[in-house]
């Protein structure tokens, strides 16, 4: 996963090690070196803090079962699909400055231009972002966050980490989340204008929106998996890798009609 990234920042490595060392308290014992296959698997799973993570995961599950998921269900029942779609589009539009900044920091000029024009169209013709007309016009949305930017800069993810409330993460992505929490341009403007409540309202609705959209997916994974924790860990880490690669690491697309499969 990391072989491609040549520019490995030493500072980041050291920081990662310090964080890892600090967390080493609630830590699982690695398999002995006499069992190389087990050791390889242990390294691949990348979860030395599993006992601690499982505790936090159980806490999150408790919170989710009794508060967050019911709230998301309530939101789904009270607000019709049309309203939820409009709110979602508006929230996505508010994220544009952040996505734009991350596009630039990653050197993704094409995507930065896309983000810019999406925001311009949606904020004006899209009625303050409540209608995502840019997607219909052929400029699809994409996600970027500071954790991904750090990854593009060559910073390792570090050990798998379950954060209270926020769920699956790692030191790098957790740091990215914190930076965005304090550095979101829209929030900073609102705070400067004295509308503290608006930033909290926005965070609350974002959380509801996110959880509501995941109700069916998470229910299904929970229902069908033997080890919900291990399934989510694997899904999160794979999905994150794909997100960071912006689809580039996956198959290069070739048109369906041309050559290729004629080799046999």
């Amino acid at each position: 996963m990391t072989a491609r990234r040549s520019s490995q920042s030493t500072a980041a490595r050291i920081a990662g090690s310090i964080i890892a060392l600090g967390l080493l308290a609630g830590c699982a014992t690695p398999p002995p070196e006499s069992d190389p296959e087990a050791l390889a698997e242990w390294e691949q799973v990348n979860d030395p803090l599993e006992p601690m993570n499982r505790e936090i995961f159980a806490f999150n599950e408790f919170l989710d079962t009794y508060a967050i998921r019911p709230a998301a269900e309530g939101y789904r029942n009270v607000v019709p699909q049309f309203g939820r779609d409009r709110l979602h589009d508006a929230l996505e539009n508010l994220k544009s400055p952040l996505v734009f900044a991350n596009d630039l920091l990653q050197g993704e000029t094409d995507r930065a231009v896309q983000t810019f024009f999406r925001a311009a169209f949606n904020t004006t013709f899209g009625l303050l972002g409540f209608v995502d007309i840019a997607t219909e016009a052929g400029i699809p949305a994409h996600e970027e966050d500071f954790g991904q930017t750090l990854a593009v800069w060559g910073i390792e993810e570090g050990p798998y980490l379950v954060l209270p409330l926020f769920g699956p993460s790692n030191p790098r992505d957790a740091f990215g989340t914190a930076v965005e929490w304090y550095g979101d341009p829209v929030d900073l403007v609102l705070l400067n204008m004295g509308y503290d409540w608006a930033t909290w309202t926005r965070s609350g609705i974002s959380g509801l929106d996110k959880r509501e959209r995941l109700i069916d997916t998470l229910d299904d994974i929970k229902r069908t998996s033997l080890d919900y924790y291990a399934s989510l860990r694997s899904l999160y880490r794979q999905h994150r890798t794909a997100e960071i690669a912006n689809g580039r690491n996956q198959t290069r697309l070739s048109t369906t009609s041309t050559s290729g499969a004629s080799s046999r």
Partner: protein, 216 residues
């Protein structure tokens, strides 16, 4: 919200059909790649089975089983999922595992989109031929009110055509996810494969009783 572009394309298509049927016939001439045709057929059948209204769950599951046993190489996937434990498992354990794994996969996927009310539209967007290492067909599933889902189907060549050896959903490989989860279950049971087999048995029973019970 209905996208206008497909409508426009359809309208244009309709017009050109009226104007020059000959040219359209010529445009269809380059045959779709067999791998793409295979995935289109498989996905269409799967979607119809999944979204099909008023189909009893047992019927749904049995249709899926047919689909999985013909077009999906569950034995190869199962071996990969069990990973390093496959070699240490006894032949009976291997057979038990493959049977239970098939049950889990069928029960999981046959109900996955059952309660989904809207349309699922599947379209192949590309493919890559890796020669001896197989092929990857990339497709997307569009849903109402949701971001489209990107899928990658890993295929291998067989005598009669193709078989699916992995499905990658939004960057997450199903085989890798199962492998990681099952290894975790085996480790939690003191590295015993029987621990996994027992967990699989009770999960299959759960899913079957859940499927049999009327849903609200």
């Amino acid at each position: 919200m209905i996208s206008r572009r497909p409508f426009l394309l359809a309208a244009l298509g309709g017009v050109s059909l009226l104007v020059s049927p000959l040219r359209l016939a010529a445009a269809e001439a380059p045959p779709a790649d067999p791998a793409v045709a295979f995935i289109n057929r498989l996905a269409d059948t799967a979607m119809q089975t999944m979204v099909g209204k008023g189909v009893p769950d047992q019927e749904r599951a049995s249709r899926f089983r047919t689909l999985f046993t013909t077009d999906v190489d569950l034995v190869e996937i199962g071996r990969r999922v069990l990973g390093r434990y496959w070699r240490t498992a006894s032949p009976e354990q291997q057979q038990d595992f493959l049977r239970l794994f098939e049950d889990i996969v069928v029960l999981t996927w046959s109900t996955r989109f059952k309660d989904y009310g809207g349309d699922l539209r599947h379209a192949v967007v590309g493919f890559v031929d890796d020669g001896d290492r197989g092929l990857t067909v990339t497709s997307r599933v569009e849903r109402d009110h949701q971001q489209p889902i990107m899928l990658q189907w890993r295929l291998k060549r067989t005598e009669g055509g193709f078989r699916v050896v992995d499905l990658i959903v939004e960057g997450s490989s199903m085989a890798v996810t199962y492998q990681s989860e099952y290894a975790s279950v085996i480790r939690a049971n003191g590295d015993r494969i029987d621990g996994l087999l027992n967990a699989l048995r009770s999960k299959v029973a759960d899913l079957q009783s859940g499927a049999a019970a009327p849903r609200n």
